[in-house]
């Protein structure tokens, strides 16, 4: 009688699939990382240039220290612009998200309106903020307006999606009861939807304000204003000590924003 063998259970039970996957991962890594091994698939990595990365990084870090806060006025202006962009964008995003959220809730509107609302949500969520920003920069020129509009679009679709999902998850009875009193659509919104949605809506909006502060630092890189624009400029001029000062400021700003958002949300019931 042979001894029974015990092996720990695996996530993927079939050994062929398991080792097949491992093998494929290995093949993928080799193919993609070796230049010109397989046309189209191989990455165009210049390994000699990448090999210089470590000394270059060391050089960069040595030029970063100590961080240079002497141009604090420029930095302050950028940070203020970022925060203002975030505030304005959150405000208008909050307003615009309401109609968007309502038309994307299946239990409130007829099917064609719903599909239109969902399509709007889907398209605006697929494209990265920076792509949207670059379009606004093309239409409105460089500056904070393009940044604000980008963040408005992003906030609108984010809050709108949450709102739509919340409304769809509402217990149907409350809507039915208000409808049965003979109330019209706006009154149903006022008496059944609004009171039930308000706390979550405010919570998500505050979270979005915090997210907008984070994102406002990046839309500037394509010229849409804010501290990101200052950062991109400092990098292109190799002012690495100033760059580090900006980065530290961004980290602090994001930290404060997150803290504020958590504090407010803990107070919302």
């Amino acid at each position: 009688m042979s001894a029974r063998v015990w092996r720990p259970p695996k996530l993927i039970v079939n050994p062929w699939v398991r080792y097949g996957l491992l093998f494929m991962v290995a093949v993928y890594l080799v193919c993609s990382l070796t230049p010109e091994l397989v046309p189209l698939v191989s990455l165009n990595i210049d390994w000699t240039r990448a090999g210089q990365g470590l000394p270059r990084a060391a050089d960069m870090f040595s030029r970063m220290f100590p961080p240079d806060f002497s141009r604090w006025e420029l930095l302050y202006k950028g940070v203020r612009e970022s925060v203002q962009m975030a505030l304005a964008a959150s405000f208008f995003g909050m307003l615009l998200s309401i109609p968007l959220g309502l038309i994307a809730a299946r239990n409130l509107v007829p099917l064609p309106v719903y599909l239109f609302g969902r399509a709007l949500l889907g398209i605006s969520r697929t494209f990265h903020e920076v792509i949207i920003a670059i379009f606004f920069v093309k239409i409105f020129g460089f500056g904070p307006l393009a940044g604000v509009l980008t963040l408005v679009v992003a906030s609108m679709s984010f809050i709108g999606k949450m709102l739509a999902e919340d409304i769809e998850n509402m217990p149907p009875g409350q809507l039915e009861a208000i409808k049965a009193t003979g109330a019209s659509f706006p009154k149903i919104l006022l008496y059944a939807v609004q009171p039930q949605m308000l706390p979550r809506y405010l919570g998500v909006s505050i979270y979005r304000l915090d997210a907008n502060i984070r994102h406002s630092t990046v839309v500037g890189i394509v010229g849409a204003g804010g501290v990101g624009q200052v950062l991109a400029a400092s990098f292109s001029r190799y002012d690495y000590d100033f760059s580090l000062a900006i980065l530290i400021t961004i980290v602090v700003l994001v930290f404060v924003g997150e803290f504020f958002s958590n504090w407010v949300r803990a107070r919302l019931r």
């Binding site: 217990p171 009875g173 409350q174 039915e176 009861a177 208000i178 409808k179 049965a180 009193t181 003979g182 109330a183 019209s184 706006p186 009154k187 006022l190 008496y191 059944a192 009171p195 039930q196 308000l198 706390p199």
Partner: protein, 274 residues
């Protein structure tokens, strides 16, 4: 007052919930609709105010044919029909007063509704109703802080706030414990009689139906299998409605002992406890 003729409802799934229902109520009385789950009780009540769109047939409320109304006229008709639900369906984050006043939504503008500005006579009527259902002093309590029995009392006040010509009541006691269920049923029937409003009450508890209703309608597979007074209910009739079962323990010997509206003192005490 209410006249239902050949009412049919076939759901998109092909399920035939109502197969030609005829029901006429011509005096202020409480009509209990009994029947097993899926017999079409809930569909019947929702076809009357068109929360469910009937497939064919006519529903006459006084002289209005509800089934042919435009959306606007339907809203006008709905405010003449008060509805009470099994799960109370209060808006949980609104106060008791706001929930009760929502019964007047059909009569105020959206702006007034938003500002919570209701005519003084509505507000005084709301206070009166709250006292009547035993919730004196609860007007600023939020609905999610109430017990089940209290919520159903608010639900009753909201429906009566409409000063309806008809009460539609869907399983008012199914989510309540037996004692609260009796209290609610008693309150409901008393108020219906007091206000002279006919009521259609879906109820699966035969005992309660017999104890409180003036008239009983038995629904089986979407058609009416019985229509008569409470004391005409016999085991044979229940067999028709629900199928074979030993009914001797269910049927009440003296249906009149529940005192419809005569024992106010008991009610006040019981409702204060609810």
């Amino acid at each position: 007052m209410l006249s239902i003729t050949d009412l049919v409802k076939v759901y998109p799934s092909g399920e035939r919930a109502l197969g030609g229902v005829n029901l006429h109520i011509d005096q202020p009385q409480v009509v209990a609709v009994i029947g097993s789950s899926g017999a079409g009780k809930s569909t019947l009540i929702r076809c009357i105010n068109r929360l469910v769109e009937p497939t064919s047939g006519r529903v006459l409320l006084k002289d209005t044919d509800v089934t042919t109304l435009s959306r606007r006229a339907l809203r006008r008709a709905r405010r003449r029909m008060g509805m009470i639900f099994q799960e109370y369906n209060l808006v949980e984050r609104l106060t008791v007063m706001e929930n009760v006043l929502s019964g007047r939504l059909g009569y105020v503008s959206s702006w007034q509704a938003y500002r919570r500005k209701y005519p003084p006579k509505d507000i005084s009527r709301a206070f009166e109703l709250l006292k009547r259902v035993g919730l004196d002093g609860y007007h600023n309590t939020r609905a999610d802080a109430l017990s089940g029995g209290q919520r159903q009392r608010v639900g009753i006040a909201r429906a009566l706030m409409q000063q309806p010509d008809l009460l539609l009541v869907d399983e008012p006691t199914a989510s309540l414990d037996p004692k609260t269920a009796r209290q609610i049923m008693r309150l409901l029937c008393e108020l219906a009689h007091e206000q002279g409003t006919p009521a259609v009450v879906n109820i699966h508890d035969v005992h309660l139906a017999q104890g409180f209703a003036d008239r009983i309608v038995g629904l089986a597979d979407g058609v009416i299998a019985f229509d008569g007074a409470a004391d005409e209910l016999t085991p044979a009739v229940l067999n028709d409605i629900y199928g074979e079962e030993d009914w001797s323990k269910t049927i009440q010997k003296t249906p009149a002992d529940q005192g419809k509206g005569k024992n106010r003192g008991t009610l006040e005490r019981e409702s204060a406890a609810g």
